[in-house]
Every structure is written in structure tokens, then in C-alpha cells.
């Protein structure tokens, strides 16, 4: 989906370092006492380069949306650092955020909820322009341009969101995000509310926009087949933690973490013969409670390969070839030579143990 220099050589746009987001659970009628913490995001580190798409996947409740909103600074991180173009923005005050948000914009999952039903399309798409100082005929021309850019007719300017189909509404959301010429767009499940034929239209649109405007995308989704289609690299989250991050192709051909493998195996392929011939193991159980995450590796209660070390020591992110990182004591799809050559990556959570995986004949 991207062109130009290979992603690995482009400048870093966004750095997320050891970010934690914990939501306090309050109890009590007048004075809320904090009785616990929801560990929504628990020490996550990644970077995003210019023109790159990073897919962020995981099941419901894994913290992917919270992380995306934290990057947008809609949520303040509990700990850790977020840098945009090298500048620390993790605790920037509101005035600085206004400037920052010219460069990063968001497209939401549900266009019904994210477009004001009482505003006309022209007002919705023009709002970011007005907020950033554009007025009058200039702003008007720009809005028409944007509508055309996303495949809508400029005559739609005076219509209301309810007059559009779901796919068209998502196009309006994209046009609004593009209004201020951002560098980074955070896409939170942008196609999951749409029918497949419409999904394909929006995915193609996002690809064209990226090629033409050099955008970077943080693409949050639960659908691994969609994410694979759009991403350069993919990060897999589970219960607030980063399980694995790899080049998109490699994640699918060589999943190292058992959770990634389980996710991939769980997806039914729309081809009856291939589907029947595939080896599929169904993971038992459900994700545990993020208020009291299990000790050690958070996936161990559902993992078929778990041993004592998994129950007690949180695995660090071990670095393999091609920048492929995985937090697992018993990695899959890698040879004993690759395991021996693995190193502890600086992206590892600070609370992770020192043990690197050892080849165990698994």
C-alpha cells in the first residue's frame, strides 16, 4: 500500500515508549475510593515511520482502542512517553495539543456516532478548517476539494449525514480527518461496520490517499484479514500487552507467539476445500479479567504450551530477524538457531523477566 523508500529507511514519526493506561475503579458514594485498576494498556512500546501503516490487532478488551486514543491524546497516559517527530507530547497542555492535532487526526468506527446528525456535510468537513483558522471562500473550496478527494460529489455539501449510506458516511469521516493536512491518521476499526463490498471500496480509498499524500496510518482492527491487506507491520495485543510485532507478511507466514497462531487459525477461510484441509486448534477459554491480570505471561491460562516459567515470569520481547519481536518463553515457527540468536529488545516491558526463550524442542 505504500510507495517510495522502503519503510525501514524513512524518518520516525511516532514513538510510543512504555506507555501504560490504567483506569481506576472507584467505589463509595461521595468520596470515591480507588479499589482497583483496569490495566487497559500495560507497558507498550512501538514506533511508526513516515508513510508507514502499522496494524494494531487484538480481540475486544485487549486495549487497542485505548492505545489508539492515547496516541491521539484523547486519554492521558498513566506512565510512559509518546513522542511525535521526536517531541514529547505525552503531557502536552491543551494549547499545544491544538497544534499537534493538525498533524494527527482520527477516523472512528461508527460513522453514525461520530458525525453530528444536525450538521450539514459541509459544516462537518469544514469544522477542522475553521478551528485552525480558515474562513470564507477558501474554506469552502477546500471542503469541495476534500469531498471530491474521497469519492463524494461536491454537491453533497448541503446534505445531512442520514442521507448517506454507511460507506459514504465513512468517506465523510475520512474527508474530515484530511481537512487539516495531517501526517498521521489513527483509524479505529474504520471498516468493521461496513459490508464487504463497501469495505473494499474504503480500503482502496485509504490506500490511494496514503500513496498520494504520504500519510502514516495507525490502523486498529479486530479483523486480521483486513489488517493484513493494509499494513506494513502488525502489532498483536492481548490483555493490554504487546504479544508480537512483525512485518505484515511475516506475521502470517511465521507467527511466533502461540496467541498469534491461535488467532490466525481461528479465522475461517472463505474457501471450503482449503478450510477443511487446514490444521486448526480451537483455543479454549476467554481472555481473563484486566483488573487482575494473571501473573507471568498473560496468555498462559489459555496457552497449550504453557509451563511453570510462563506462570511466574513475564516474558520480555525477544528480537528475531527482520525486526520481528515476540513476548513468549516457548516461541513457535522458529528454529533453535534463531532462538539462540534472539536478544532482549529494548521495547520489552520494564517488569518483564530477564529470561530469553531457550530452544525446548517444542
Amino acid at each position: 500500500m505504500s510507495s517510495g523508500a522502503p519503510p525501514a529507511e524513512r524518518a520516525t514519526l511516532l514513538e510510543v515508549e512504555h506507555v501504560k493506561v490504567h483506569f481506576p475503579i472507584k467505589q463509595g458514594l461521595l468520596v470515591g475510593r480507588t479499589v482497583g485498576q483496569v490495566h487497559a494498556v500495560d507497558d507498550v512500546t512501538f514506533t511508526l515511520r513516515e508513510g508507514e501503516t502499522l496494524g494494531l490487532v487484538g480481540e475486544s478488551g485487549c486495549g487497542k482502542t485505548t492505545l489508539a486514543r492515547t496516541v491521539m491524546r484523547l486519554i492521558e497516559p498513566t506512565a510512559g512517553t509518546i513522542r511525535f517527530r521526536g517531541e514529547d507530547v505525552s503531557h502536552s497542555p491543551r494549547r499545544e495539543l491544538t497544534v499537534l492535532r493538525r498533524e494527527m487526526q482520527m477516523v472512528f468506527q461508527d460513522p453514525n456516532a461520530s458525525l453530528n446528525p444536525r450538521k450539514r456535510v459541509g459544516q462537518i468537513v469544514g469544522m477542522p478548517l475553521r478551528l485552525h483558522g480558515a474562513r470564507g471562500a477558501d474554506a469552502d473550496r477546500r471542503v469541495r476539494e476534500l469531498l471530491q478527494r474521497v469519492g463524494l460529489s461536491p454537491e453533497h455539501l448541503n446534505r445531512f449525514p442520514h442521507e448517506f449510506s454507511g460507506g459514504q458516511r465513512q468517506r465523510i469521516g475520512v474527508a474530515r480527518a484530511l481537512a487539516v493536512d495531517p501526517k498521521l491518521i489513527v483509524l479505529d476499526e474504520p471498516v468493521s461496520a461496513l459490508d464487504v463490498s463497501i469495505q473494499a471500496q474504503i480500503i482502496n480509498l485509504l490506500g490511494e490517499l496514503q500513496d498520494d499524500l504520504g500519510l502514516s496510518y495507525l490502523f486498529v482492527a479486530h479483523d486480521l484479514s483486513v489488517v493484513r491487506h493494509v499494513s506494513d507491520r502488525i502489532a498483536v495485543m492481548y490483555l493490554g500487552r504487546l504479544m508480537e510485532i512483525a512485518l505484515a507478511q511475516e506475521l502470517y507466514s511465521k507467527p511466533i507467539h502461540p496467541y498469534t497462531a491461535a488467532l490466525l487459525e481461528a479465522i475461517p477461510i472463505p474457501d471450503p476445500r482449503e478450510n477443511a484441509s487446514r490444521r486448526r486448534s480451537v483455543v479454549a477459554g476467554e481472555p481473563p479479567n484486566p483488573i487482575a491480570p494473571p501473573p507471568g505471561c498473560v496468555f498462559h491460562p489459555r496457552c497449550a504450551h504453557a509451563t511453570d516459567v510462563c506462570r511466574t515470569v513475564q516474558p520480555p520481547l525477544a528480537g528475531y530477524a527482520n525486526g520481528h519481536l515476540a513476548a513468549c518463553h516457548h516461541p513457535r515457527s522458529v528454529s533453535s538457531g534463531e532462538i539462540a540468536a534472539a536478544t532482549r529488545d529494548p521495547a520489552s516491558p520494564l517488569s518483564a523477566g530477564g529470561e530469553l526463550p531457550t530452544a525446548d524442542g517444542a
Binding site: M1, Y252, V282, E286
Partner: protein, 355 residues
Amino acid sequence: MSQPEPILEVRDLQVSFVTDEGIVQAVDGVSFDLRAGEILAVVGESGCGKSVTAMTLLGLTRSPNARIAGAATYKGRELLGCSDEQLQRIRGAEIALISQESIGALNPVQRIGSQIIEQIRAHEVVPKRAARERAIELLARAGIPHSRERVDAYPHEFSGGMRQRVMIAMALSCAPSIVIADEPTTALDVTIQAQILDRFRELRAETGAGLILVTHDLGVVADIADRVAVMYAGRIVEQGSLEDIFYDPQHPYTWGLLGAITRIDRPRRECLPTIPGLAPSLAERPAGCHLRPRCPHEFDRCGQVPPLRSRLAGAPAHLDRCWLEVERKRTLRDVAPDTIGLHGPDGAEPAQGAA
């Protein structure tokens, strides 16, 4: 191989609703059979009439604004014309429903056990204690661990996947012959979806019930269905076995649908084939073939409605609604497998010498 008698025969089902915007023809001439132990998938995009078809069989679309015509015969009994009381005896006991939104389908202030017991005792004369034992057993069979302790829980104490299992337990409580499942796994995560689909497979083998699976997910269809009906704008446009639909699709809409899916098992493509345009409003459907305005292969004859019939020699059960000649269709479809026909401004002439 002789086919067993169908337990459900739907013939020329018509459902329309009178609305402010005119008459909305949600279902137009839908016909299909369902046999015992069979899984029939009804697929299509939002608004194609797949859910209305399923709900009408259960009498759930009956309202002063609805016009329902046609026939739906369940084991010799007519479902569409029967009285509400007759329907009440069939619904839940012989034809059960699993809906998409388990949170909306369960009563939030009633324990799940008592909801199942209520259902059993509505249809059978069973002492409460025996019904409770059966509820516990049903929950265990639907895959809920520690069902004896959890039978007295409230719906909010369960996760989405667990609630969907409660729905399955409830649907099976009176050993129905037909289960209608409307997008049963759409709201679930993939690992949980895989668990639920496994459960469906086991239950089909154990109970021999026929299953009508309404879904938009072709992956789920490929995984579990025996036969498929593809709907578009209120009509079935193609119907056949799983192999027919996936490996020899005869209707351009089916190719388009299969082509537009992103797949994890295929090399990634630069550009996904799309079906241009939008599905028509059910209040203003185009004359003739409803796909005509979106179809690059349309020609004069498409102004008439193509009947749903077999157009392939030797495949009497593979039906479609497309006027194109079979050979021409296959050429158009296969000439550039990556664009699956419905892509590009004009598909009138297949490119010469395409690889």
C-alpha cells in the same frame, strides 16, 4: 443418492412493508428447502432481506404494515397462514431462534436458568425440578463450564460468548427440528467464534436438526454450511451446494462478493476488486435484474427478471438468476481471476490473450 424429504419448504415468499416512503419489498419470491441435519447458509449484505426471510418463518414480521404472501410448509403444516396460537406452539419448540444480540434477547432481570425453565414449561408438562435439571444439562452441552453453579447467574454476569451459548442452550431446550441462527457469531471475537461454530457442528451431529444460518461472513459459510443461498435486494440470486457457490459461482454478484473479501491465505493485492455503486433501496428497486445498474456485463435482456433456475447441465440443484450464457459467464469470470468480473468500467469483451 436419494435425498430425504425436506422438513421445510418455502415457496415464492413475498414480504413487503408499507412505509412513509412507499412499499418496501423486503423479500421477493424466495423459495428454498431445508432437510434434517442440513446447514443452509443465507448470505448477503445488509438490507438484502436475509433476516426478514428468517424472521417471517417464525411469524416475527407479522404486523399491520406487513404484507406476507407465498407458502412455508413445515412438516406438512403451513406456517404463514396459521393462527398466532398455533405458531406459538411451533415457535421455540419445533423451530427455534438464535439471534445476533444475545444481550437484547435475554431478560436482564431474570436468572438465565429460569429463562430456560420458562421456555421448557411453556411447551411441555414437566415438573420444575426436572426442567431445572434439563436446563443445567443443556447449558453444559452448549459448552458452559460449571453449569450447575452458573444456572442461577444473571445475563450480565456472562461474557458475550457465554451469553451466545445460553442462547444455544435455550434454542435446543425443546429439541427443535429447525434452528434459525441470525448472525450468531457476528458480535464475537474470532477465537470465541471458532468455539461456537464447533459447538454447532457437534449439535447438528447429535440432534439432527436443520439449521438456517443467516450471515454476511463467507468465511463462516465456507467453514460450516452444506448449501448456500445468496440474496441481493430481496431475491435469491444464486443457490447451490458449498462447492457450487465457491468454485463455480454463476451470478456476477456472487463473484463480486467472493472477490471483495480480504483473505489471509492469499498474497496481498494492490487493489481489492469492488462492486461499484451501492445496493438499491428496497423501496425503489430497478426493473428486471436488480444488479443491472452495478453490473458491467449487463445487456438488453437484463430488463426482464431472470427466473431462478438451473442453467448448468448436470447440476439441477445449482440455481441462478442471470441471463448470461454459461460459457460466456465462465469466460468473464475467469479471464482475470483477480478482478472477479465486477471490476473495471466495462467487462463487455474479455481481454485478448490475458494471462
